[in-house]
């Protein structure tokens, strides 16, 4: 009498394969750098897609007059404006009924994938913030040379020389942070005894990577390359360097099936049904605008990729 085995009877009596209890999410950036920027409000109902931030420079001293009764000329003020134009960013995911209907407990169904919309918006925001680093007219670092402690000091000095006050934020590509950690391993003098120096050497994930010398470090894969791909273009900046404006969609008539987006996000998820194709889709709509408010509040850090 033959044994009952998986090899002979499994095909009829068992499933080919089943998902495990764990749905493993592969590595993905979920960092939102907009928290480092100035929120300039909601464009909804403002009257224009273009918002402008008036800027004013008041650095003039009084002047001694030639005599006590000298009539002096008026000193003009220095003014300008920064434009923020909200534009549309969208992401569509589309599912067939067969895919959605067969989704079992713990499996990646439409709801789970739709829930990633908030992360997609975070990534978009971070990309837009990192896209502004090339706007910094000041720069430290050497092309093709790894980021060093000296570079971080140079960036800090540059911000201080321009009159900025801490706290500073420093957003780097992951490779730049690890280069910085590598260089810090050999740091000597008083710096090596600061607990923050030792804490910076600990392994880190994406996003907030520690604080050192009054500088908050973040990493993001959205940080652009520079010098034709040879380098990465991170940035250190002070409060007020970057501003953003968004447009909420709550009041838009005709968005059918609009769903609640995670609290605090000015965005919308809209559901569509195409009956003839037996598919359902959701679309995330997001209307952001990011801009540098003052270039002297930031310094780019361009070092080897």
């Amino acid at each position: 009498m033959a044994n009952t085995t998986y090899a002979t009877d499994g095909a009829a009596l068992r499933l080919a394969e089943v998902p495990t209890a764990l749905l493993h999410l592969n590595l993905a950036d979920r960092v939102d750098l907009s928290a480092l920027c100035v929120d300039l409000g909601d464009a909804a109902g403002s009257g224009s897609s273009v918002g402008h931030v008036p800027t004013l420079t008041l650095t003039d001293n009084l002047s001694a007059t030639a005599a006590e009764d000298t009539d002096i000329a008026a000193t003009s003020i220095s003014s300008g404006q920064v434009q923020l134009t909200v534009v549309r960013y969208s992401l569509v995911r589309k599912f067939s009924d067969l895919f959605a209907g067969t989704s079992g407990p713990g499996q990646a169904g439409p709801e789970l994938i739709a829930a990633d919309a908030a992360n997609a918006i975070s990534r978009t925001r971070s990309g837009l913030v990192a896209g502004l680093f090339g706007s910094a007219s000041n720069d430290v670092g050497d092309s093709g040379v790894d980021l060093s402690v000296s570079n971080v000091y140079s960036a800090m000095y540059q911000l201080m020389n321009d009159g900025n006050s801490p706290r500073f934020a420093c957003v780097l590509a992951p490779v730049q942070l690890t280069d910085f950690m590598e260089d810090m391993r050999g740091e000597a003098g008083p710096q090596q005894w600061i607990p923050a120096s030792q804490a910076m050497l600990a392994a880190k994930g994406p996003g907030f990577s520690g604080e050192w010398n009054g500088i908050e470090f973040y990493t993001s894969p959205e940080v652009d390359t520079a010098n034709a791909g040879a380098d990465r273009q991170g940035c250190m900046f002070a409060q007020g360097a970057i501003g953003y404006r968004e447009m909420s969609l709550n009041g838009i008539p005709g968005i059918a099936g609009i769903s609640g987006i995670p609290a605090g996000l000015r965005a919308a998820i809209e559901f569509d049904r195409t009956g003839t194709a037996a598919t359902s889709a959701y679309t995330v709509h997001y209307y952001p605008a990011f801009s540098v408010l003052e270039a002297d509040r930031m310094v780019s850090i361009t070092t080897d990729a």
Binding site: S49, V50, V82, Q83, L84, T85, V86, V87, R88, Y89, G127, L128, G131, L132, F133, G134, S135, A136, S137, N138, D139, V140, D142, S143, G144, S148, V149, S150, Y153, S154, G186, E187, A188, G189, P221, D224, T225, A226, N227, A228, G229, A230, Q233, P288, A289, F290, S291, V292, A295, S300, T302
Partner: protein, 228 residues
């Protein structure tokens, strides 16, 4: 907007494998800009070459509207003393010549665009995609910008700042234990910057003090309106 299109399917490959999205993410379109105080010292030629930043040409960034009109960012770069490097016909009018199409893009398997410069190519090994950067090509471009007067020559004051930063780097390394060889390498670089020669020439002169002193490279022709 004229950009060259380079599909990954054109890349020589031993097998027809779709590129991995992890290796080739969709990214933002960009232009290059140069600001007056951004220069890099080239160890091999012994000259300072203009540093080129990546400036996002993305709607929503710095006042760029949905249609991608870059007039706002052009004036923003100009306000800060920078040079905005155009592409296509505008780039040819600017004098970029053969470099006018320096922005290219490749398509990944999610049909997203991955923008890169013309000095980046991709090698596909299995299902991994590895970028290859033509460093010399990028340096030639940077040199071309100065030679054609598109970027003004390095200002002496900025050169002093760059040398000063290198001097700080030498001091920083010297303060560390067991870093003699690195300190010497940084010192050679500092000397090369000061003398306007290659790092190799400085090293050679140091190791063979009787050999003739390295010849200073001839200075690049100055553009009209160059700062003395």
């Amino acid at each position: 907007m004229a950009v060259n299109k380079q599909k990954l399917t054109d890349v020589n490959s031993v097998e027809a494998v779709r590129p991995s999205r992890k290796d080739l993410r969709g990214n933002r379109e960009f232009r290059m800009v140069h600001y007056p105080n951004h220069w890099n010292f080239d160890d091999t030629s012994g000259e300072f070459l203009p540093g080129l930043k990546t400036f996002s040409a993305t709607p929503g960034c710095n006042g760029t509207p949905q249609n991608g009109n870059l007039s706002n960012v052009r004036s923003m770069v100009a306000d800060r003393g920078g040079v905005f490097l155009e592409i296509g016909e505008a780039g040819r009018r600017q004098g970029l010549g053969e470099y006018a199409d320096y922005v290219e893009f490749s398509i990944n398997d999610a049909n997203q665009r991955h923008f890169h410069t013309q000095w980046t190519t991709f090698d596909q090994i299995g299902n991994r995609v590895f970028p290859r950067h033509d460093e010399q090509g990028a340096k030639d471009f940077a040199r071309y910008l100065v030679e054609k007067g598109i970027v003004r020559p390095l200002h002496p004051q900025i050169k002093e700042q760059l040398i000063d930063a290198q001097r700080r780097r030498v001091n920083g390394v010297r303060n560390r234990p067991n870093r003699d060889s690195e300190a010497q390498a940084q010192q050679d670089r500092l000397d090369a910057m000061r003398q306007g020669v290659s790092v190799a020439a400085v090293k050679e002169a140091r190791e063979n003090p009787t050999s003739p002193k390295p010849a200073r490279k001839p200075r690049a022709a100055k553009s009209a309106g160059a700062v003395a």
